[in-house]
Symmetry: C2
Subunit: 239 residues, 2 copies
DNA sequence: CGACACCTTGAAGAGGTTCAAGAAATGTGG
DNA sequence: CCACATTTCTTGAACCTCTTCAAGGTGTCG
């Protein structure tokens, strides 16, 4: 895959506004040629990188769906996020030259490989890229703040409602339905992310369905009453 | 406060190895002159910045102790971290030009103000600084991964043990005792951070004391059996 | 010294987990 | 293409951890 084809691909990529800084000049775009050195296809279930792997690059998801998770020596396991097209993974590796989490494809996927050394070089030359990189990292920090809030202060129903609304909102931003979604992950993975057991996730789905908030059939979910879900997340001002 | 005095202060600062990149040349140090434009004293209980404040700078803590917390419109509240000397706060503000959390001094404190625009400029010129900034942000992301693991998969005793060990380890890295510490935060703030109620925190402290793991007298804690605490955190390989 | 914030402890209750069994979907190999 | 194995999901019942509510104790600061 030669650099030229990559450049053309970035230029024409429908995801550009998701993963590239806005307002780049043509000169900037020329310089950013070579930021993405390769594409990589990842089969479902396969790690893009794993805990302990040498850190060399950040990855932008072109297609597919990933989960990231951390694991302790004692076998504890925590899903830290689910990532979809246009989102970046690998930021955890910068600090220690090695990745500290696993990134596993939940469906066949393709990513753009951006060697970190190039990111460093280019962001010295292109302030818009520099700013963009900083914002990506800051965004990830703020996202995790939200998850901390969820894990630290919400009950099962609130967590799952917030999770569904977040997922569907991100999918909608990518042109998918605002009301229908297909879960790419198992109940257990949802549970790990939300700090719940898979049985609790399943039961809560059933309860939402009983209450007429959603329709669930395995991994297919239809949001029937988004307002109702939002009510569940926001209402309890009790602390 | 003139730039020269700041430069001298950074140069001589005992915290330099905590908050500055290692291996700077004299030329680099000259360039980094002007990174810190001011110092700011913050009284206990006062916010350094608050949710919604315009983002202008990052702050390195010189002395004192902070907590950061996020709040929702519905009044939900979550402590996202406790920060001590040499640590940086404000990274949450980069993505949206406004801070999304509160940073409140838990004791009288002093911070070094580093305007973000200067950080951007200087890190284009000084690769060591650029790398350092990236690492700081990555470190924060990894730190939060750890908190997600804690909140998502640990029980009360495990959380509190992990919390104490983390605190004492960071204090030790700053030259304080490995076994004795004074908590700067209330039981309620610890509880918020750990996703527990203050009563549970209090009870768990008492239990640790009964079990001979620690001695507690209000905010004074003495680690009697660090190995035992580590055992609590690591043992349960059940998931 | 008195007011206020903070901490401790008990008892009852709720929410989530655990264990268990069965159903539904998915994938595999013949 | 079907049968079988495997994974995933659902649901029930008992249990346990943490929360809630309540009261009293301790420490701190003006």
């Amino acid at each position: 895959m030669n650099p030229h084809s990559i450049k053309a691909a970035c230029f024409n990529c429908t995801l550009r506004e998701l993963c590239m800084p806005a307002g780049l000049t043509d000169g900037d775009l020329d310089k950013l040629d070579g930021l993405v050195t390769a594409r990589r296809k990842i089969k479902r279930g396969v790690p893009l990188f794993a805990n302990g792997d040498q850190f060399t690059a950040l990855y932008t998801i072109r297609t597919g769906f990933f989960k990231t998770s951390v694991t302790t020596e004692s076998g504890r396991d925590q899903v830290t996020g689910f990532q979809m097209a246009g989102e970046i993974i690998g930021l955890d590796g910068i600090v220690g030259d090695h990745h500290t989490c696993d990134a596993i494809a939940l469906e066949d996927a393709e990513v753009c490989v951006m060697p970190y050394s190039r990111i460093e070089e280019l962001s010295r030359e292109v302030p818009a890229l520099q700013n963009h990189v900083h914002k990506m990292m800051s965004r990830e920090i703020v996202r995790e703040h939200g998850v901390l809030l969820l894990l630290g202060s919400m009950r099962a129903e609130e967590r799952l409602a917030a999770f569904l609304l977040n997922l569907v909102q991100r999918l909608h931003a990518r042109g998918f339905s605002q009301t229908e979604l297909v879960l790419r992950m198992t109940r257990e993975e949802i549970g790990s992310y939300l700090g719940l057991k898979l049985e609790t996730v399943s039961r809560t789905f059933s309860k939402f369905a009983d209450d007429g908030l959603i329709e669930v059939k395995q991994r297919h979910v239809r949001i029937v009453d988004a307002r109702g879900l939002r009510g569940i997340v926001n209402k309890p001002a009790c602390n």
